[in-house]
Point group: C2
Chain length 273, copies 2
């Protein structure tokens, strides 16, 4: 039984209606199911945990587990890994995706997450840095203010729950379309997905859905024409025929309909590896 992915663009509401977090709890099977919160992306894990502990308590979760890992060795702990493997909801908080990937990648804890996801049907959620880290090719840093720029976005190895799609977060709020285009101009066989704050892209076996209050923007350069290979670093590439899809909250698309514009995007996301 495959689980669910919940790719959250950061800044999800934690004090008001908490629609995104509420949805996470539902996808985990309800408030009585075991939930684990991984704060490894953050340099202030206790503060972050405090915030989520409060939010989940308000949502009726009796006791979520704080997976507090600062060093890689801690992610090899058997007891902790066992606990994560049993969780039905695993939530990775924000911080720095490089810290998260470096701490968890290839450890027992990561294997436990994968086991929970692939065998236990768990919901794996990541917000902000936690969302970026879900990817095989993780957008790790970069800035492209007014236009895409060759080399502006850096990729690093991520946790690999999502392949062939690069995730960016805080997308509209931080005007990151140029950063994401910089990344896919260079790697046009990957699709790009920008997730707004307080917004989740939910991936199930049978399709995808956008929840929360913002939008998901998908960019696709697979059939584009660009001169990016020929220009110097920092220059703006010519890009013709970029395809863009805007999926507002409330959108859902099933895996049926092979020739639809989003068919490949959905198939890349739902392809478990």
């Amino acid at each position: 039984m495959n689980g669910t992915l919940m790719i959250i663009g950061g800044g999800e509401d934690r004090t008001g209606s908490m629609d995104v977090l509420k949805r996470f709890v539902e996808l985990a099977g309800g408030p009585t199911q075991p939930i684990a919160v991984i704060t490894a992306a953050s340099t202030v894990p206790d503060d972050v945990w405090g915030m989520y502990a409060k939010a989940f308590a308000e949502l009726g979760v009796p006791g979520a587990t704080h997976v507090r890992i600062e060093r890689r060795a801690e992610a090899e702990d058997d007891m902790l890994a066992h606990r994560v493997a049993q969780a039905r909801g695993i939530f990775m908080t924000g911080g720095d995706q490089r810290r998260l990937a470096a701490t968890l990648g290839g450890t027992q804890l990561e294997r436990a997450m994968r086991q929970a996801y692939l065998d236990g049907g768990a919901c794996i959620a990541g917000t902000s840095a936690g969302a970026s880290a879900l990817c095989t090719h993780m957008l790790s840093e970069g800035k492209a203010e007014l236009a895409p720029e060759k080399g502006a976005a850096r990729l690093a190895a991520g946790l690999g729950f999502v392949s062939r799609v690069i995730i960016d977060q805080h997308f509209s709020q931080r005007h990151r379309i140029n950063r994401l285009l910089s990344a896919i101009a260079q790697s046009p066989f990957l699709l790009g997905a920008g997730i707004d704050e307080d917004t989740a892209l939910i991936v199930r076996d049978d399709g995808i859905e956008v929840a929360g209050t913002g939008n998901v923007t998908v960019v696709d350069c697979r059939r584009s024409r660009t001169n990016v290979a020929d220009i110097r670093a920092g220059a703006v590439p010519e890009m013709l025929d970029v395809r863009l899809h805007l999926l507002p909250a409330g959108s859902h698309f099933s895996t049926a309909g092979d020739d639809a514009p989003l068919a490949d995007f959905i198939s890349y996301l739902t392809d478990r590896n």
Copy 2:
């Protein structure tokens, strides 16, 4: 002999290397040719004129003409219209495009501009509000901060030098992609072109070119799928298969090559009416 259009995204350099203004003077036939500056978009026409008078003087233009029109009746002046018809470079400054269209549209002065353009081979330039006003369907106002919104962008009747394309300006600097998408979601048979500051889209009979320091972004919803007709005003439309083209400064495309991604965009622009 058809003239040239120079569609400038505002904020063109007026004190340094002045590449965009220099190019305008060249397209007008050089500094000794008659140049007219129309400040009708502005509520401080004398200040704006002062700035351009200085810039053109520095570029070796001996005496540009200030076309200072505050009321529609002034645009029916025979002498002034004659002077504009003789100009080889006509530059419309920034301000408010609604003021510009309301003051000039359908007047003798507008006919004089068209005569200079179609018969005299003049270069017609517009910057900022002056750029928007070149269109038949003029983007007159609107704001869409984080996402396209139904009804966020308003169209008004413009001067009609450019048909089937909606121009927006200060494009990347003011993050206006959502405003432009709002407009073309509603009117998908029109193409959208967003011009950055200090950047000009130059339209000649044989093709288009981007000059200056920024980029031109073209958006095309003609083959898109959207629910915009079914949602309430202010809601975010689902938009699938929007095509986007990024043309950096230095790009040029000829009218040859019918199946190229930009063929229709070029043909719409070069189609004189």
